[in-house]
């Protein structure tokens, strides 16, 4: 079942060069061009934050990196290997790249513990006992040890999202993709998820994050990228991009955000 793909290196990460390299990526849904010639690099341990209005292509970019979408053109390299090559085993890529969705997407018929152990047991061939002890450690890590046997619908939104993060982390991914993980949460719960992400960053996790939380972007990001209409308009360190953006469109977007009281 599990084929070794010829192009993917078996080791964890290439020591030099970016962990993730996106070059000239293009993706359209029917007549809508969603990503137009997007290029960006993420170095190991770096935290890159994507900002931009809804529909600017942030989510699609993340879904392309996780091979949930097939790109129309361009190249995505993970640790130096081209993962857009159609011969690559998508499952193998996904097993090394964690993604967390805006709507959590926990499996409602499984307990919290079973949600987390499903992939290690079924995909990675870890024994159930080993997977459960790892899952419990991960739950401890996200502060939800007491919820191991709860069902997802018994948890608050923030707790569900933390379980989703634990589920993505349990496979020890080399890269985490986070797609507006706080957008479905009320302001009080946003904090618990963001502080978890901050800790992850401090532990050296490489992350690519789409978010509307500018304050979080300012604190955590090494690089902020502004997407507009499928194009990557500008990128830079957070204090520069959020403080004195070069592009008028970026200034306009940030002005709106400030107006809405979210910066």
């Amino acid at each position: 079942m599990r084929r070794r793909s010829p192009v993917l290196p078996a080791g964890p990460v290439a020591p030099d060069g970016p962990l993730l390299s996106v070059r000239n990526l293009r993706k359209s849904f029917g007549p809508n061009l969603v990503l137009d010639d997007v290029s960006l690099d993420v170095a190991p341990g770096e935290c890159v934050v994507l900002i931009g209005a809804s529909g600017s292509g942030k989510s699609t970019l993340l879904r392309c990196v996780n091979l949930l979408e097939v790109v129309d053109d361009g190249v995505i390299e993970l640790a130096g290997a081209d993962i857009t090559d159609p011969r690559v085993d998508a499952d193998e890529v996904r097993a090394r790249v964690g993604i967390v969705f805006q709507a959590f997407n926990l499996f409602p018929h499984l307990s919290v513990l079973a949600n987390i152990t499903l992939s290690p047991v079924k995909v990675h061939g870890v024994s159930r006992a080993e997977a459960e002890s790892r899952a419990l450690a991960m739950l401890e890590r996200v502060g939800l040890s007491d919820k191991a046997h709860a069902r997802p619908d018994e948890l608050s939104g923030g707790q569900q999202q933390r379980v989703a993060i634990a589920r993505a982390l349990v496979n020890s991914p080399v890269l985490m993709l986070l797609d507006e993980v706080t957008s479905a949460l009320d302001p009080e719960l946003v904090g618990e998820v963001l502080s978890l992400l901050r800790e992850l960053k401090d532990e050296g996790m490489t992350m690519l994050i789409a978010t509307h939380e500018m304050g979080f972007a300012r604190q955590v990001a090494d690089t902020v990228c502004f997407l507009d209409g499928g194009r990557l308009l500008e990128s830079g360190p957070p204090e520069q991009l959020l403080g004195e953006p070069r592009e008028p469109r970026t200034r306009q977007f940030l002005a709106r955000i400030i107006e809405a009281g979210r910066l």
Partner: protein, 296 residues
């Protein structure tokens, strides 16, 4: 219905006593409830009286009562009809198991992606189209009388009940396949995306994420189909199998008294009622969970 108003004493932990106003409200509601119950009883009794009066006062009633509702005839035919019903029950149970397996297989075949599976997809679609469209009675006749007439070597002697059961399985697995497929397609694509993003293959995502949710959702309509199967198992009587209906028919042939049919009908209803109640119970329990689940 399950949530009766809290008895007054249960609320006493924090020293709360209902106010005068609340007591008046409760008394008023109790009064209304009693009035509703009395009205419902009266109107039911009146309607029953009218119907019974109209039927029994009709000129042909004595003959109808003798022909369809003869107590002596009922007692006489009951053992044979009940023995026939035992056959219906066995046919139904065995068919139900095969139908679930076949239906689920067909549903999965129809949801398979990839060019390799094209012929399987087409086969499954054609199968469901054909057997949902064909009247069950035609399938029964074709199998029950047509196949034995072929005089195939190796299957020269087989009881007709096998063909009857096969016809039921062919028809009902087409229905059940569609029920399963509806369930599979009702699971939101984000669930599959989440499963795939964790590295699960398509088959694993189907097995561990999509199917468990799909089956839970379609349990009520599925049980509904089994209630239907249970009663349609009586149709195999047209092949000459001595089931409840056939036993009743044999018994009526003695003296043209149709009471045995009523007996068979009564037994079938008694048989389906538990399954119908089970269906209701499952549906209610699911609705309960569903309302708590929200948009996951």
């Amino acid at each position: 219905m399950a949530r009766a108003p809290q008895p007054l004493s249960a609320a006493g932990q924090s020293g709360w006593q209902p106010s005068q106003l609340q007591r008046q409200r409760l008394a008023y509601r109790r009064g209304r409830a009693i009035r509703s119950a009395v009205t419902a009883t009266l109107s039911t009794l009146v309607l029953l009286a009218v119907v019974i009066g109209a039927v029994t006062s009709s000129p042909g009633w004595p003959r109808v009562r003798e022909t369809f509702f003869s107590w002596d005839k009922a007692k006489e035919s009951l053992p044979d009809v009940a023995a026939g019903l035992w056959l219906n029950l066995r046919v139904m149970l065995i068919c139900a198991v095969i139908v679930v397996i076949l239906g689920l297989t067909l549903a999965i075949l129809r949801t398979l992606r990839g060019p390799v599976f094209f012929p399987l997809r087409v086969f499954a679609a054609a199968y469901t189209d054909l057997f949902r469209g064909l009247p069950l009675i035609l399938v029964l006749l074709l199998l029950g009388f047509g196949v034995p007439a072929l005089s195939l070597t190796g299957v020269s002697f087989q009881p007709v009940v096998i063909y009857g059961g096969a016809a039921l399985v062919l028809t009902y697995s087409a229905y059940v396949a569609e029920v399963f497929r509806a369930g599979i397609e009702s699971v939101h694509p984000s669930q599959r995306a989440a499963a795939r993003s964790l590295g699960l293959s398509n088959a694993q995502a189907l097995r561990y994420v999509v199917l468990p949710q799909a089956v839970r959702r379609v349990l009520p309509p599925l049980l509904n189909d089994f209630v239907s199967l249970q009663k349609d198992s009586g149709l195999i009587s047209i092949l000459g199998v001595v089931d409840a209906i056939r036993a009743a028919q044999i018994s009526t042939a003695d003296d043209f008294n149709y009471t045995p049919y009523i007996v068979a009908g009564f037994l079938f209803v008694c048989l389906t009622i538990p399954l119908t109640r089970l269906t209701d119970w499952v549906a209610r329990r699911q609705g309960w969970y569903g309302s708590g689940g929200g948009a996951v």
